[in-house]
């Protein structure tokens, strides 16, 4: 019996000694579940892939740095990526799965207005934060819809409001092109795809051009047009000073070379086409050509932080597309969200996170000035506009244009 007691005593002592000498045990890192809903197939794939690539890059960076400290716990981001196949029904199904079955804390995406709105009907009641980049969300985000308890309280628009972007773009395009033209441009033609996004975006851009003294004709084409020659022939007959190819980068890259073949105008503006693509395709025109990026071009002169970002972005296997710059509209907000979670000290307090985001000034890659959400859950930042010299593919001059202080006459905002 004595022997048994001795053995027991020694055993307990050994265990105690082991406990003293062994390093303090860490609780395992917890998973922070974040959903990404984006088009990895279907016609919006070039925009959708930018969301996925940016999300992966941000999650890797945060996890490699040790994760997110929230209260006494450390969280590693676990992404749940869902391909919406450029289909609103698949988008809704994906959002339902992410919210109800997986229990994500936040969702990044989608790339289009109507899909984002449909998704917000699911994320809102479930108190799941939603970060969507499309500028057309501005038509739905207002004091009433983002109020506590309202359906868009947890939705954030990570792209600037369209009247802001249109205003800064129009000003930048005209200020860069005017000195390169023989006479001051007064007549603009805006060529835009006739879909919901094209109609919404061009309505703001036309007002912005008119506010800058342009007489504007709006010409719409059926989405997915490939042969633009008949429409461009009509535009040539209108004798414009500048033709603005608006909104869809792929369509613009299809239409612009055709326009240059028949010399439609003395200057062009290509919205959504990165200078990097212009150079890569060795495009050339006998006249000055402006282009803009949201928010910063990957192919033009860049700030070191942006340069570093795109180096890593493309090294991760993401394609060099006309819309690659859009990825920035999603990347920074991972860090902003992580900071808000740390401040709130809990992953189960979405209302606290919303409040923290609204009070936060976050200095990210996307803008030289800190990112700030306004009361309607929207951000503000400048647009980069570049112009390429005639007969060159890579001789760019770029400028950053700040948005106007208020919408132009006739533009109700949004």
């Amino acid at each position: 019996m004595k022997r048994l007691r001795l053995k027991l005593g020694l055993g307990i002592a050994a265990l105690g000694l082991f406990g003293v000498l062994s390093p303090p045990s860490h609780a395992a890192d917890k998973d922070l579940k974040i959903g990404v809903v984006a088009a990895e197939s279907g016609s919006f794939v070039s925009a959708g892939n930018t969301i996925v690539a940016a999300a992966k890059l941000a999650a890797t960076k945060i996890n490699d740095a040790g994760g997110i400290k929230v209260g006494n716990d450390t969280y590693k981001i676990k992404l749940y990526i869902r391909d919406n196949r450029t289909d609103v029904n698949v988008t809704v199904a994906a959002a339902l799965e992410l919210v109800n079955d997986i229990g994500v804390s936040a969702i990044w995406g989608t790339e289009t207005h109507d899909y984002s709105i449909a998704m917000a009907k699911i994320t809102g009641p479930a108190k799941v934060l939603q970060f969507s980049g499309n500028s057309s969300l501005g038509s739905a985000l207002n004091a009433k819809s983002v109020a506590p308890g309202a359906w868009l309280h947890y939705a954030f628009q990570t792209e600037p409001q369209e009247w802001q972007r249109s205003g800064s773009t129009a000003k930048g395009v005209l200020s860069l092109l005017t000195p390169m033209l023989a006479t001051k441009p007064v007549h603009s033609v805006v060529l835009v795809g006739n879909d919901a996004t094209g109609q919404y975006l061009s309505s703001h851009y036309v007002k912005a051009l008119e506010a800058d003294g342009q007489t504007v004709d709006l010409v719409k084409y059926p989405p997915d047009t490939t042969d633009f020659l008949p429409i461009l022939t009509r535009i040539k007959g209108m004798k414009p000073d500048i033709v603005h190819f608006w909104y869809n980068g792929d369509s613009t890259l299809t239409a612009f070379p055709q326009a240059e073949q028949i010399h439609v105008a003395p200057a062009y503006f290509l919205f959504g086409v990165d200078p990097g693509i212009y150079a890569q395709r060795n495009l050339k025109a006998t006249v000055p050509v402006a282009m803009s990026c949201v928010p910063e071009c990957w192919g033009g002169p860049k700030r070191p932080e942006v340069d570093d970002y795109f180096t890593k972005y493309f090294a991760s296997g993401a394609s060099k597309g006309p819309q690659s710059s859009v990825s920035l509209l999603y990347y920074d907000y991972f860090f902003m969200y992580a900071k808000a979670l740390t401040q709130v000290g809990s992953v189960d307090n979405p209302d606290g996170v919303v409040d923290a985001l609204l009070k936060m000034q976050y200095q990210g890659v996307v803008s030289p000035v800190p990112l700030v959400f306004n009361a309607n859950h929207q951000v503000t930042f400048a647009t980069e506009v570049c112009v390429v010299k005639p007969n060159t593919s890579d001789d760019f001059h770029c400028a950053t244009e700040q948005p106007p202080p208020a919408p132009p006459p006739g533009d109700a905002g949004g």
Binding site: P222, T226, T233, H263
Partner: protein, 289 residues
């Protein structure tokens, strides 16, 4: 007047690629009885093969033959492994072809990525004649289309092969009893239609950038052209293509440009109501007695 003439010239080039795809569809359905909705993706693959070869330094016109050969092989494989099993059940073949089109899109995205592809202008010249711009490459596309149409038309109407083919369309069993290898002819027609799609893809990327989704856009016009002219009728595909080209060009100039597709489809509907067999009349596909 210059503008009107320019739009007439435009309509010819608009029509050319559409005629090529419409002709492929019309031959494959009219003579082989297969409704191949993946025909647009065959065209897209032809464009992508051309892009790969041109980017590798191959001359465009050689790359064009490479694309025709590659898509011809694709057609052979598709017919032998898929469509031969659905010859008696065309609806099964149709649904299968929709699946094939989605698969081909995603295979191309996986292999090459989703980004739009373009090649430098094979011939960058533009002639200005009487105030009308004539783009050299478009003129070449029109010329190639004319040659291909002529070869196809005479091949079907005048050659021994064509006579046998038409006999097998009229009555497969009798044609088979007379020693015509009907199944082999079906394969041959499918391959030829696929080769035309490959040519269409090569010519298309010479004019416009293409994406993995280009096929799903052009297929609608291809079927419209085939129906307007009359399924199975080569001349009908030409007439259908010209009608759509004219409607596109003139409506872009004198109508609402955003409605150009709608105008084309309205014309198709009206023609099909007035002449259900198409403008030049077509076949109802091969028949077995």
């Amino acid at each position: 007047m210059d503008i009107f003439l320019q739009q007439l010239i435009n309509s010819l080039s608009v029509a050319s690629v559409t005629i090529l795809i419409g002709m492929g569809i019309t031959l494959i359905f009219g003579l082989a009885g297969i409704v191949n909705f993946a025909h647009g993706e065959f065209l897209m693959v032809g464009g992508m093969v051309t892009w790969l070869l041109v980017m590798a330094g191959v001359n465009f016109f050689i790359a064009m033959f490479g694309a025709m050969a590659a898509v011809g092989v694709l057609g052979y494989v598709a017919e032998r492994t898929l469509f031969r099993f659905t010859l008696n059940r065309p609806m099964n073949g149709f649904i299968m072809s929709i699946g094939l089109s989605v698969i081909l899109q995603n295979v191309v995205i996986k292999a090459l990525n989703e980004v739009q592809k373009s090649i430098p202008d094979p011939i960058a010249k533009v002639w200005v004649i009487g105030g009308v711009d004539i783009i050299a490459m478009r003129a070449i596309v029109v010329a190639i289309t004319v040659v291909v149409v002529a070869i196809t038309y005479f091949g079907i109407t005048r050659s021994r092969y064509g006579v046998a083919l038409r006999a097998s369309v009229s009555d497969q069993d009798t044609a088979a009893l007379m020693g015509i290898p009907v199944r082999r002819y079906v394969t041959g027609v499918f391959i030829y239609g696929s080769v035309l799609a490959g040519l269409g893809g090569a010519l298309m990327i010479a004019l416009f950038p293409i994406t993995p989704f280009t096929g799903s856009v052009v297929i609608i016009r291809g079927f419209a052209v085939s129906l307007i002219g009359g399924l199975g009728n080569v001349g009908g595909a030409v007439v259908g293509g010209l009608v759509l080209g004219l409607v596109d060009a003139l409506s872009a100039q004198y109508g609402y440009p955003q409605w150009t597709d709608a105008y084309s489809l309205v014309v198709m509907i009206v023609i099909l109501i007035l002449r259900p067999q198409g403008l030049l009349g077509g076949t109802l596909g091969p028949r077995a007695t």
